[in-house]
């Protein structure tokens, strides 16, 4: 019995001693250089082609901006735009406009981004009554709304300023006040059916386009706010001051591009107004990816640098809409109302900060294309948002310089290492 206890105790002590010297730490870091790595990561580059350009007239009203000006763009066509405005019938702290006491003016707030010459000459704009009734939600690019040039309601000149304050014609103000002061139930409907609003028309503009703001800038350090109307009158000291502000009820732009932009050799034009959108598909053969476990796929588009002296709104975003089935609406409506499934921000050159290319993360699309059950989707590639500004860019296509052609870079883990 004593021997059994000795034996048991001795064995236990030895095992405890053994366990104490066999520590367990770290995580297999030794020997990582030996032989082939367990996950060999490689990349392959696939040329992408088959771009079709489709056109649609995008929305031009009730957007974040509206354009006004005229630019003879040698690449993207001559663009002429007038901004349409219609003031609201309500104002905080103001029940009625007293036409013999109040005056009314337009405070036009412009975005700092411009389209046209970098050092423009003074541009002359005139304000007219719109030539016919319009609604912001029904305004489209290349479907112009003419101005009634018979009566000028105001005018201003602009270089690079952010704001223009334009007194409006008293007779027009009186017409507007009739609606504003009306208390009948039919006021709104009559206003919609009868009041044509204003049209800010470029009259002496050379290669300059400005964008009216309808939302305050994110970095509005000068407290400029957004475009609005102001009711002005003498205060108790006899000095003119703003009694109330009236926001635009409806707004938009009458934009015409003539001739339409045409894609140059080696490139394809994209316009955020949906006048030029790439339609394509991603055709991939699963056989090309046997033994390759994909971890990332990026579609690269190079931006073609224009060698003219025009300043264009900076194209920083590319968007890709993936459409599985036939559209039940127009392409413009679809692209405007649906969030793109893929998007990317342009990569800048480290030296001169110019925008060079887009890398779009297509990993999910490649997985679906290679291994999914659904039909190959149609891809619509556009730039920026349709926000009222006028953006344009040319992407290098499959006929451009070889090093800048569109390509799909697929990164994968080789899963058939050394297999027979």
């Amino acid at each position: 019995m004593v021997h059994k206890i000795q034996l048991f105790a001795g064995t236990l002590l030895l095992l405890l001693f053994s366990l104490s010297i066999f520590g367990c730490e770290d995580s297999g870091i030794v020997g990582s250089e030996i032989g082939a790595p367990d996950a060999e990561i490689q990349s392959m580059v696939i040329g992408v082609s088959g771009f079709e350009v489709v056109s649609e007239n995008g929305y031009a009203g009730k957007l974040s901006y509206s354009s006004a000006g005229q630019v003879n763009d040698p690449v993207y066509g001559d663009v002429t735009a007038s901004t349409l405005l219609k003031p609201a019938l309500t104002a905080v702290g103001l029940d009625s406009i007293l036409t013999d006491f109040h005056t009314m003016r337009l405070r036009a707030v412009f975005d700092s981004e411009r389209y046209g010459l970098e050092d423009p000459a003074p541009s002359g704009y005139a304000i007219y009554e719109a030539g016919n009734l319009w609604r912001g939600n029904e305004l489209y690019v290349n479907e112009p709304v003419q101005a009634d040039l018979s009566r000028e309601l105001g005018a201003f000149s602009l270089m690079v300023e952010d704001t223009a304050i334009v007194p409006l014609d008293p007779m027009w103000v009186e017409e507007f006040a009739a609606f504003f002061n009306d208390t009948s139930d039919t006021r709104s409907e009559r206003y919609k059916q009868e009041f044509r609003g204003l049209s800010v028309v470029p009259v002496a503009v050379a290669d300059q386009m400005r964008f009216f703001r309808y939302e305050s800038a994110a970095n509005d350090t000068l407290n400029l706010g957004s475009t609005r109307f102001e009711i002005v009158g003498p205060d108790s000291a006899g000095t003119d001051s703003v009694f109330a502000t009236i926001s635009p009820l409806d707004w938009g732009a009458s934009v015409v591009r003539t001739p339409p932009a045409e894609s140059p050799d080696g490139g394809v034009v994209l316009l955020n107004t949906f006048e030029s959108v790439i339609k394509t598909t991603l055709d991939m053969d699963p056989a090309d990816f046997e033994g390759k476990e994909i971890v990332n796929a990026q579609l690269t588009f190079h931006i073609k640098t224009e060698d003219d002296d025009l300043l264009r709104p900076e194209v920083t975003t590319i968007r890709v809409h993936r459409v599985e089935e036939e559209l039940n609406e127009t392409l413009g409506e679809y692209l405007f109302t649906n969030t793109p499934q893929f998007a990317a921000t342009a990569v800048r050159d480290e030296d001169d900060d110019t925008l060079v290319y887009f890398n779009i993360n297509f990993t999910g699309l490649v997985f679906d294309e290679l291994y999914g059950d659904s039909e190959t989707p149609t891809l619509y590639i556009s730039i920026q948002a349709n926000n009222g500004k006028i953006y344009s860019a040319t992407l290098v296509d499959e006929t451009g310089p070889e090093e800048k052609r569109p390509r799909l870079t697929v990164t994968y883990i080789e899963t058939e290492q050394g297999a027979e």
Partner: protein, 457 residues
Amino acid sequence: MMRMMQEICGKQYSGKQYSRLTSRTLPSLLLFLLLTAGTVIAQSDQNSLSRSGSFYSGFAFGAPADIYSGHTVGIGLPGVSDPDGFKPNSTNPAHWGNARLSKGQIRFGLAGYRGEDSVNRETYSLFTIESFQVVLPLLRDRLGASVGFRPATRLEYSRTNSGIFEPGELVDPVGFITNSTGTGGVNVLEAGFGYRFNDYISVGYAPSIFLMAIEKNSSTDFSQGQFQSKSITETISGHAAGHRFGAYIQTGSLLAERDRLQAGLSVQLPVTIRADLAKTTFRPVDGVFREVDIVGESGTTSSDVKIPLEVQFGITYYLNPANSVTTELQFQQWGNARFSSDLTQEAYFTDRFKTGLGYQFKPDRTRFGRSFFTRLQYRTGITYDSGHLTFAGSKIDTWMIHAGISVPSPNSPSSMDLSFHMGWQGTDSMNLVKEQIFKVKLSLNLAEFMFVRTRFQ
């Protein structure tokens, strides 16, 4: 005969007592062995209580797992030339004919490794149930049968690989880290017979089933979120029949009156397994994660795995019953092994031989007295293993020293063997890994009279 058995047991039992004893111990012994078998069979994914075995077990279908008889594990040699009456010997089927008692054995092992390459150093360890075996005498001292389960190769590793790669000219460099683990190996379920012609010659044959079950997992994460983490699990499984032959000769009174010379030979024929290969991962397709079989897509669903020829030969010389010297040579033709699912790793194989010299001391109690320590048996040895892998001409060889004791049960022929092993494997030059190895092995050897009831009644 009865007197002889009573002497062996060291205790006087009547025939009825023996009958009662065996009827109690046999069911518990069998239950214990069955439970053990279940544990060992499941070892492909559960035998690693701690993290990892040798780094070099992570290639192809694992590193060769040596088997030992219960007592010669203390000298680090298989024991093909040294049978023991109270302990089963799994290394040479010829020894199974030399069985008077029913014998069972199970061995546990705890191994610790301190690995270092030219840059890093780490420690890892592994607990395993190494083998079990039951030997039953069918015709006492003439014909015996054995059933056992032992590993042929063992794969237990964990590796980490990290770095930076550039996906393309216009894609920013991405950092990655890959952690790879593997468990399993090739296990052998073996049943065979040994026949003893006379006092000098015995032979044996053991057919077996080689069971292969390996699971490797590699998980890769990236420093940029738009690169998807990827986990790939590879399983290789299959089975094939194997054959092992053994021979044993002994003679005595060569140089002295009580000396004895023993020689043993064991040959395991090559085994080719047509293994099923599956490699799975998850892919985000159509908005949901799907498990897919990668190799199935390419039509490759099998792999040829060839476990090479093994020859073991040894000589043991007993100067007298108390002192013996053993030397053995183990040869495995790994240069002829196959692993068709990864020819890069197959190319690392090279022929392996292992040899060593061991000394055993069993104190003569009439000479040294009857203390506790004179009941023990003492063993020590040194071995050299050329290794089965070669990298750019560098063989991964191993030097080890061994020491062990046998602790007999005070009132039965059963015993326990405890052994300690220490050595060095590989080299840290050429970015290879040098491992310092520490091992402790515990063998529980059960020896009982079984199936004797009818004889004594």
